[in-house]
Symmetry: C2
Subunit: 234 residues, 2 copies
């Protein structure tokens, strides 16, 4: 692993293990340089990473301070961020409803930037959070990128398989969020009533070379879904 990532991880671990509170001042730059035997630039890069994650904030002339969000029980919209513990806070499981290779609709082809005759994997899942129905998810994967899927992979973590199993690098994402009323079918899956509120999140995930490989439409149970988002550098 890269040095600045190691440094960032160790600082993150230190904050977490010592349960440092919001506003706690961390050692000054020079101390960190000594402690990790790294140059100023490397430490700064590590700190920038932590700042981007929302774990610290830096005040010129003053110091480096711990930042902790004030509420628990919310799901991170950019789940790469934050303490790993936040992810373990929830027990999320999946049930597979369908797994097929299909021809894409126009919507899917557009979002994945492929032709209509190229095959895509279609995956339909229900996800549970702490035993309660969280959401219904329909995902489409470009078959020329994600060449193989099976029930086990889909039930566990597709992203883990894509990165570890296939050795692909996920680069960035687009997310579109809107609210509306549940259809009858959606209401059945979520054990709610037709017309009840829903939150719909459509996401497109791209490889680090810019190729979109996953288009997902997720409908959330409005009673179970709360999200948070940490901004920095406004």
């Amino acid at each position: 692993m890269l040095k600045y990532q190691q440094v960032a991880n160790q600082i993150e671990l230190y904050i977490e293990q010592h349960q440092l509170q919001q506003g706690t001042k961390l050692p000054v730059l020079e101390s960190l340089m000594d402690e990790f035997s790294a140059s100023k630039s490397t430490i700064i890069k590590a700190l920038d990473l932590l700042e981007k994650k929302g774990l610290i904030f830096q005040v010129r002339g003053s110091g480096i301070f711990v930042r902790r969000k004030s509420r628990m029980g919310y799901i991170n919209l950019l789940s790469n961020q934050g303490f790993k513990k936040d992810l373990e806070e929830f027990d999320i499981t999946s049930e597979m409803l369908q797994l097929d290779v299909v021809k894409p609709t126009q919507e899917v082809a557009d979002n994945l930037q492929i032709d209509y005759d190229q095959g895509v994997y279609y995956v339909k899942r229900i996800r549970y959070i702490n035993g309660q129905t969280l959401c219904v998810e329909e995902s489409y994967y470009d078959k020329s990128v994600v060449t193989y899927l099976n029930k086990q992979i889909v039930t566990e973590s597709i992203f883990h398989y894509v990165t570890e199993g296939l050795g692909l690098n996920i680069g960035f994402s687009e997310m579109y969020i809107k609210t509306g009323k549940l259809t009858e079918e959606e209401a059945n899956y979520l054990h709610l009533k037709q017309g009840d509120p829903k939150l719909v999140m459509e996401s497109i995930f791209f490889l680090s070379n810019g190729k979109p490989f996953d288009f997902s439409k997720v409908t959330y149970n409005y009673e179970q879904s709360q999200f948070f988002l940490l901004g920095s550098g406004i």
Copy 2:
């Protein structure tokens, strides 16, 4: 303005004015160094900023490429990001319903990290997007930070006043999002029916020294509100 911000702005302007499409390759690092008479580190910092904003993506060994989100008509959740044009895409106006100095409730005091006896500005506004009711907003400002507000400031832009008028630096934010059903009062404001879906966003804004100064609760009209979010570095 800082050099790397200037560089970033000029690159952003170039992309926008030439309407460069997704995937267009930008000049290589060395060309940019020459063009802007800056060091490699400065250019990289500018590019990192643009990448964080979701405007470009970099592929090692290949180049720097333009990234453009594929859909229009969505509001940026992290509105600092993206082309300025995206913001001008909407005509957002405000109507002030109430402006008072009040004692904070426990909820407000907690979120602003102040005592119960400290005064806060309470602002209630309705915001319109392209003439349609977008949301009802209740905001609380720490009076020891935002020392003065009036109707004009509230009707225009409070954030512009805080940064330009008061010379304060906004540092970062926390946002919490959930969905639910409209109350009767909310429904009246939004010209919807009681029980219809709503999206509630609670935000806390912090100065760059870490002090929270604004706590806002915004209830959105589900028919008018669509949001997007660009992730990078997953």
